[in-house]
């Protein structure tokens, strides 16, 4: 809920309190505390430092699907690499399944699907699973048994004797998922698991993730596909520029953003919207004046008597002419503001044919937290992916009212 304090734009780089840490340790599978990573490089001009992760703290609880979001260069991969022990942190501490990151015990209980899995050309799916199983210190019988199960699960049964060079990227990803699950890990780290898959493949992977979640596995998911994250993740963390911008359940993150109400008012002979005169005060103080020659002038709303309705108490209100109605849209902070607006319209005799409220989508939350500058960087990569998120705006109320009103207007 707004103002709960769980997640907001100032959460970045926040350090967990000792109390939080202790509480988190008890049930957290991934526990990261003020983790930092600085890369050093040497050039002709001298030594260069790049701070890839700047003090990130987070926890992933047992049994949850934890999403990690962020634009390119946000430090997500660096964070995952640190969790897997691939690189060493510069500062801070972290545990995975109660073990220090990078320890053999921790790694033996983690399954990892890298972003672009490479399997040597001489392998078949089955021989690759045998190889990775041995690297995970599994015995031959277990490898054979688990291979059968997982090949079935990821849909590679029947093609398991083919050389991987004939595999499509989707098949590679499925094979990667199978190898990540082979040794029955307690924590699964998936880096872009649906990357390169067709919609059907994505759906299958999503279902696998859901089944694993239902089976009590903890999943750490790094993905660009916001819809995917929205659909399967219990909690997400958003990173940008090496800092944690927000963390929490998706609903909670959305509640931190702005809410919007949309009211459709029926246009009649008198009650209609018309361009306001030049000496009239604009209703929308926030609306930026459109100075283009062909632009439609700002609208004003008149009552049945043709009198201008005074909506000065709603400075953010915006008008849009619809086919049979005028749409009023306004960002709100409390239900009282909606009630006041509805009362004002009804007192003026306006017929309300539709009313809906909408919370912030994940993408909007993402864009809000990451910022336009960074968001523009992200947009290239995630333009297509984010379409789904736009469509997925959560309509919470009165769709039935809206449809009824449209029907009435039609009559």
């Amino acid at each position: 809920m707004p103002g709960s304090g769980l997640s907001n734009g100032t959460f970045n780089a926040g350090k967990l309190s000792d109390e939080d840490s202790l509480a988190a340790d008890s049930d957290s599978v991934v526990n990261v505390d003020d983790l930092k990573k600085t890369y050093h490089s040497y050039t002709w001009r001298g030594r260069k430092h790049v701070q890839a992760v700047r003090g990130v703290s987070l926890q992933a609880q047992r049994g949850e699907v934890f999403g990690l979001l962020g634009p390119n260069g946000a430090g997500k991969t660096t964070l995952i690499k640190m969790l897997l022990g691939v690189i060493r942190p510069s500062a801070g501490r972290a545990t995975v399944l109660g073990q220090s990151i990078g320890s053999p015990v921790a790694r033996s209980r983690v399954g990892y699907l890298p972003e672009s899995l490479r399997v040597d050309r001489h392998h078949t799916a089955r021989s690759a699973l045998r190889y990775y199983g041995r690297l995970s210190r599994m015995d031959a019988q277990s490898i054979a048994r688990r291979s059968d199960e997982l090949l079935e699960l990821v849909g590679l049964r029947g093609r398991d004797r083919e050389p991987v060079v004939r595999f499509s990227k989707g098949m590679y990803q499925r094979l990667g998922l199978a190898q990540a699950l082979l040794h029955n890990p307690d924590l699964l780290v998936l880096d872009e698991p649906t990357d390169g898959l067709d919609p059907v493949g994505r759906n299958e992977v999503r279902r696998v993730i859901e089944r694993l979640r239902d089976a009590g596995k903890t999943i750490f998911l790094n993905s660009h596909i916001l819809q995917e994250v929205e659909l399967v993740c219990s909690r997400v963390a958003i990173m940008a520029a090496g800092q944690l911008k927000a963390i929490g359940a998706i609903d909670q993150l959305a509640d931190q953003g702005q809410h919007r109400v949309t009211i459709d008012v029926l246009q009649t002979a008198n009650a209609a919207a018309a361009p306001h005169s030049t000496n009239a005060a604009p209703h929308s103080t926030n609306a930026a004046p459109d100075l283009s020659p062909n632009a439609e002038p700002p609208l004003q709303l008149f009552d049945q008597q043709g009198q201008l309705i005074d909506l000065a108490g709603f400075p953010t209100l915006q008008f849009t002419r619809q086919r049979v109605a005028v749409r009023l849209a306004m960002e709100y902070e409390s239900q009282a503001q909606i009630d006041q607006l509805v009362d004002r319209l009804r007192q003026s005799g306006c017929s309300i044919v539709g009313l809906s409220t909408a919370g912030e989508s994940l993408e909007q939350t993402f864009m809000r937290l990451v910022g336009p500058a960074v968001g523009s960087d992200v947009s290239e990569e995630s333009a297509v992916d984010s379409l789904g998120s736009v469509d997925g705006q959560r309509e919470t109320q009165s769709q039935a009212i809206q449809s009824m009103a449209v029907q009435e207007a039609g009559e």
């Binding site: 691939v86 033996s108 672009s116 040597d120 190889y131 690297l135």
Partner: protein, 816 residues
């Protein structure tokens, strides 16, 4: 271990999936198929080759004498000379007057013609020659029993008997190579045993160098250079290092796995070659399989560099480039090292020593005579640098008094037994700071001086000639006086010239009065001198019935009372002629025929009446001259040839005691010094605590052993009864000039750089089971090549450990 084995096994599978591997396999199979038809057969050694006539001067003089000396008419030599082709005979007749040069191949051709037409043979004429046992056996065969090959062999042996010493001894059997049943037109005059040794010590290391050391290593690097860069791809590396395995183990497993490519290729090639050697060449030597680990080890050196470059730059191309650069650097260091060995340290190696009073004189492999300078703690050269030539040959000096040594330098003697021109004795006198002074002519081809009683003996392949030591000393004094007076009195020179002129006139008158026969005898005398016969001062001392045939060796025994002589399988021992008698030849006391390979290089040493005979590639034999029997024989060293033997005590313990049991030092070609002694009726051998020994000698005055080792260091030691060495003096010359560069620059560089080129020596050593090889240089000398078996292994091993440690450090510490 299981995960790491999985990585190694995965590399095996990866290698098998490589097309280049199968292309390499195909190339290997084609090569093996091409080599498989090679075969050989043993044939009788019959044809004469130009190389066998290393002493063309002597052979030429012999044949010429057979033509013009009336005394040789009807003898074996005369009949053989007469059977030479007309053009050759025409040249031979001019030799006595003009020393006409005749090509070796022309002489060989003439002798080969005689093989086909034996009309020159006369049984009676050949009765007086030294006939080898083999010839006697063949002579027993009737014309019906003898095969054509045996007949030609018999003809060759008859020719050799007629020309004693004129030809280098060759084994009775030669090797004839064939391909798919077709014999090559050239025979290799080596025994089967020698042939197999050649294959083991030379052919296989060469194949190792080129096939395994160059082609396969390069191919292997091409194929494996991508292993590490591919592993470092994010989608591969991150997955691998997220597994519960150590990075160190992962990298090592990848490294071992990378070597599997070469292992697969090398196994096929070496096993194939081994099978061909066994099947076609009857060389059943499992040690050939040592090539497999050595070749993989060689590849491992370069692969470690490729791996490090791959880790650093993540690029296969750069890995290959860096590895090739490294290979080039190793090659350059190896070449420079070889040059230093050949031109800096090699020529300084001491080849013989002689001590008189407190002065030590040595000869070096670089044909230099040196005397030790205590004040400078270094060796002083006695020859000017300009006069030292590698093709010359220095005769080991002997001391004829406390102040005087004698030696000789045979110009061109390295390749021609008799050298070019006449040979003069060099006197090295303390009073003249040992500067060599030519004194008097010595017999052509003299290879050894010995002091036997009051006689100075000169031995060449034709016989043993002597001059009194006192006479030599007198000549030295005269020469010194002449040199002192030189220039002081020119008048006396004119008088002398006049006197000479008078003598010449008298001689001319005499010539006019001489008959043709006398003139001919004069020419014959010339020819005798040309073929190593008597000269003015040196006269034959052997009984007429003793004719020497190479290989030869001689030593003094029984406290200086006996002379022991070895001549191609026979051992003679002589006593000095009684001073009161008129006899001028040695008294033959006994002789003994030794079994085994009589053509093998032989060394002798005597202690009292005990004599040690060491023949190449045979056990050393201990003989008791008193009984004329073989006491026993014993293998010394691990299959390495004996290159020198020395007594450890040559003076009788008590007066008239000439039957001292004796002890001997034996030097094997691997540079190890052994003690051979008699324990009851049995012989025992043990190593003495010195390595890298080049030569040994015995100083009779001090009864000490002189040991030259580590290039130019000398130990003067006594050997205690328990085999420990008691050092009297150690000579450690301070390196100077290029030797200093070698010590301070080249050797450290060679130690730090993996000497991959020397791994072929490791192969030669392992395959042959020897630490060295000794190639005969004639007259008991051998060109010794010591294999550095463990040095390259150590150097390469240390390099691999260093590079892999660095790689592991980078891989473990670096963020990927």
């Amino acid at each position: 271990m299981r995960p790491y084995l999985a990585v190694v096994m995965d590399s095996f599978r990866s290698a098998f999936a490589s097309r280049i591997l199968w292309i390499a396999f195909l190339a290997i199979w084609l090569l093996l198929a091409a080599l498989a038809p090679i075969g050989f057969q043993e044939v009788y050694t019959t044809r004469f080759r130009g190389e066998e006539l290393s002493n063309g001067t002597q052979l030429k003089a012999m044949l010429a004498r057979g033509l013009i000396d009336p005394q040789e008419e009807g003898t074996a030599l005369g009949r053989l000379s007469a059977a030479m082709p007309g053009s050759l005979k025409k040249q031979l007749r001019t030799v006595a007057r003009q020393n006409t040069p005749i090509q070796k191949w022309a002489l060989a051709d003439g002798l080969n013609r005689a093989l086909d037409d034996e009309s020159w043979y006369d049984q009676e004429a050949w009765q007086g020659t030294i006939r080898l046992t083999e010839l006697k056996e063949l002579d027993k065969l009737s014309e019906k029993q003898i095969t054509e090959d045996q007949r030609r062999r018999r003809a060759r042996l008859r020719i050799e008997a007629a020309l004693p010493g004129g030809l280098i001894p060759r084994p009775s059997r030669s090797i004839n190579l064939s391909y798919a049943g077709f014999a090559f037109p050239v025979d290799f005059p080596v025994t089967k045993k020698q042939f197999l040794v050649l294959v083991n010590q030379y052919v296989i290391p060469v194949m190792m160098d080129w096939l395994l050391g160059f082609i396969l290593v390069f191919l292997g690097i091409l194929v494996t250079a991508s292993i590490i860069p591919e592993m470092l791809q994010p989608g591969s590396l991150h997955l691998l290092v997220s597994k519960p395995i150590s990075r160190f183990g992962l990298l090592i497993a990848k490294y071992i796995g990378g070597c599997t490519f070469v292992l697969l290729c090398v196994c096929q090639l070496v096993v194939g070659l081994w099978a061909i050697a066994a099947w076609r060449l009857e060389l059943w030597n499992p040690a050939i399989l040592w090539c497999i680990p050595v070749a993989v080890f060689l590849f491992a050196v370069y692969f470690s560099v490729s791996l490090l470059a791959g880790l650093q730059w993540r690029s296969p191309i750069l890995s290959i480039g860096v590895t090739c650069l490294f290979g080039g650097f190793v090659l350059v260091v190896g070449i420079f090292g070889g040059y230093f060995d050949q031109f800096v340290t090699g020529p300084e190696q001491i080849s013989s020593m002689v001590k008189s009073a407190d002065q030590l004189l040595v000869t070096t492999r670089g044909r230099q005579l040196r005397v030790f300078n205590d004040q400078a703690n270094g060796w002083d050269d006695l020859f000017d640098k300009e006069s030292v030539r590698r093709r010359d040959l220095l005769v080991r000096p002997v001391a004829i008094s406390d102040d005087v040594f004698v030696s000789a330098k045979i110009s061109g003697g390295q390749y021609n037994l008799y050298g070019n021109g006449t040979l003069e004795m060099l006197v090295l006198d303390r009073r003249a700071d040992y500067k060599p002074i030519p004194l008097l002519p010595v017999p052509n081809g003299t290879r050894q001086f010995l002091v036997f009683g009051d006689q100075l003996l000169a031995m060449n392949n034709a016989g043993l000639l002597a001059t009194p030591v006192s006479s030599v000393l007198q000549r030295i004094e005269t020469e010194r006086a002449r040199l002192d007076d030189q220039g002081d009195d020119s008048e006396s020179e004119e008088e002398a010239a006049e006197a000479n002129s008078e003598v010449t006139d008298q001689d001319l008158q005499a010539v006019n009065q001489m008959e043709q026969l006398a003139w001919t005898q004069d020419l014959v005398g010339n020819l005798f001198r040309m073929q190593g016969g008597a000269v003015e001062e040196f006269q034959p001392i052997l009984p007429e019935e003793i004719q020497l045939v190479e290989p030869l060796a001689a030593t003094v025994a029984a406290g200086g009372k006996w002379l022991v002589l070895y001549s191609r399988g026979r051992l003679f021992w002589f006593g000095q002629p009684a001073p009161s008698s008129d006899q001028t030849t040695l008294e033959l006391i006994g002789q003994l025929e030794l079994p085994g390979s009589d053509a093998a290089r032989t060394r002798l040493a005597a202690s009292g009446q005990q004599v040690l005979v060491a023949r190449a590639d045979e056990p050393v034999r201990w003989l008791d001259l008193a009984s004329g029997k073989l006491v026993g024989e014993i293998e010394v060293g691990s299959r390495d040839s004996v290159i020198d033997v020395s007594t450890l005590a040559d003076k009788p313990v008590a007066e008239n005691d000439v039957a001292s049991s004796g002890r001997f030092a034996v030097l094997t070609s691997d540079g190890t010094l052994h003690l051979v002694e008699r324990q009851g009726d049995a012989l025992a051998a043990r190593t003495l605590g010195l390595d890298d020994v080049h030569s040994i000698d015995f100083d009779s005055d001090s009864q000490r052993l002189l040991v030259a080792h580590d290039i130019d260091q000398v130990e003067i030691v006594a050997v205690a009864s328990d085999g420990s060495l008691l050092s009297d003096r150690s000579i450690r010359a301070t390196p100077a000039g290029w030797r200093k560069v070698d010590s301070w620059v080249m050797e450290p560089l060679r130690t730090l750089t993996p000497q991959t080129g020397e791994l072929s020596e490791t192969v030669a050593g392992l395959v042959s089971g020897r630490g060295s090889s000794a190639i005969e240089r004639g007259f008991g000398d051998a060109e010794v090549r010591r294999y550095r078996i463990w040095r390259p292994v150590l150097s390469c091993g240390m390099f691999i450990v260093a590079i892999m440690s660095l790689s592991c450090f980078l891989f473990v510490r670096r963020d990927f």
